[in-house]
Symmetry: C2
Subunit: 306 residues, 2 copies
Amino acid sequence: MGVRRFFALGLAAGLLFVLPSNAGRHDTQAPGWFRYALGDFMVTALQDGSIDLPASAYQGLRADKIEALTKRAFALSANGVPTSVNAYLIDTGAHHILVDAGNADCYGWKLGGLTANLKAAGYEPKDIDIVVLTHLHGDHVCGLAAGGNRLFPKATVWAAAEEAAYWLDEKNKATPPKARAALALYGKDFRTFKPSDAIAPGMTIVPAHGHTPGHTAFLFESKGAALLVFGDIVHNHFVQFAHPEVSVMSDANRAEAIATRQTIFAKAAADNTAVAGGHLPFPGIGRLIKDGDGYVFAPVEFAPKP
Amino acid sequence: MGVRRFFALGLAAGLLFVLPSNAGRHDTQAPGWFRYALGDFMVTALQDGSIDLPASAYQGLRADKIEALTKRAFALSANGVPTSVNAYLIDTGAHHILVDAGNADCYGWKLGGLTANLKAAGYEPKDIDIVVLTHLHGDHVCGLAAGGNRLFPKATVWAAAEEAAYWLDEKNKATPPKARAALALYGKDFRTFKPSDAIAPGMTIVPAHGHTPGHTAFLFESKGAALLVFGDIVHNHFVQFAHPEVSVMSDANRAEAIATRQTIFAKAAADNTAVAGGHLPFPGIGRLIKDGDGYVFAPVEFAPKP
């Protein structure tokens, strides 16, 4: 018998049995952390949560082509494009640096898994001494607060000077009030950087403006290994790796966002530098391979040792 | 400053600091289990381990094209093609069915993570009452034994009649002795099936011969949701989704293996049926989307709830 009949068989088998409902089944998920070795550094990817976003509006490609690509995302979820919210902890030996702090409960989304996943991975919030923010959208900032207090009591929090100037301006209504409140908890421990600043050994500030005025990536390097934690350079991996010329509505400056994405993709692919994305499928770490006019993303694969 | 300078900056920064070695870093990985809800059933993907295989010999595509595709795998590991060894536990409410049992220590590979991951996921080996084997290669069979005893004391173990006839023939030197010994531990609890047999409600036998003489997939269905656990239909996801016409050396009957792969891919893509593969990147579950003459694999994405 060939495989062609398998669905017909399936239907037939379904009619033969009545199954009990499976009330006693385990329905917890594995914890949302993943370790990635980077020379002497150890990177821990941390998931704050995942949301099914409505298909966003993309520009820069024929509508039918975009539809065909986003259909791939909808093969996974009828509710929308599955979108992870990731943060990255880099233990350099000298510092515990957290890149982005998760969404917690901004934008009406109930995420906030960051703390539990941080603890499951063997850390406590007090272990973090540096937080660097790729940008000040709520889903990267609101997780700095927990119950009205600093989640990271010992951390200095950093963002680009351009980013702070834009988003912390009281006239900018787009900033979620909770994001501004979370940053305010850090008082003088919230600081801004210029591109030439060196905040911590092994970490380089890489301006990557466009998505927001001061959007920044961070390059971590140890013993010849490199990881570029690049925040919101990509929003839809089904579309934008193949078509980096496609922009998303939330990009503040689309032309600049596209140019930045093109530059970063080209360099990371040419040098086989690993990248980590704030909204790539968890753990969100992988490499880019040039493929025609676009790129293919090769995500890291799970293995028992980092 | 633009992003173009980022690697130059990185090198400069690297020279400015001397970092302590990171001896106190956490170097454990997250546990290798992943839950996937399927109607009233609950599926738990379990990783036995992962190996970097040498680039296998593929047939059916120009050598330069194959080289370009396998290069994507080598972007992730210089040691070879990262290859996961997966098993799947399906809790149907009536049964705990394990599809494949992992490699343990066959072929000289030290894997054997299945038991620890099963326990981390909330199960004990004695909970398993049915084991179905896609085929009798050692990396699917050897994990039935632990320390010379049955790992699954209460399970009946099943394989296709053609598969048992071929691999258990003493004249067939290709069977690892440990695989034969593992099966022997189950005595009369090792049984064979014909395609028309119904072993458990909600599970359908789907002959998928070619990789081995009795290679079999298993279709699980609950409340309109379906998952085809298809064993070794794919060995290299970088090559064979785009080019299902490419065969791998370990396929016993290449023409049949290719025809089976083409049929299963086409059907799964047309019906948007989820698939789970014994060697796909863990957790190895996803959907196929038709793309030109081949397919794109859209893996499930990690989320805090199954």
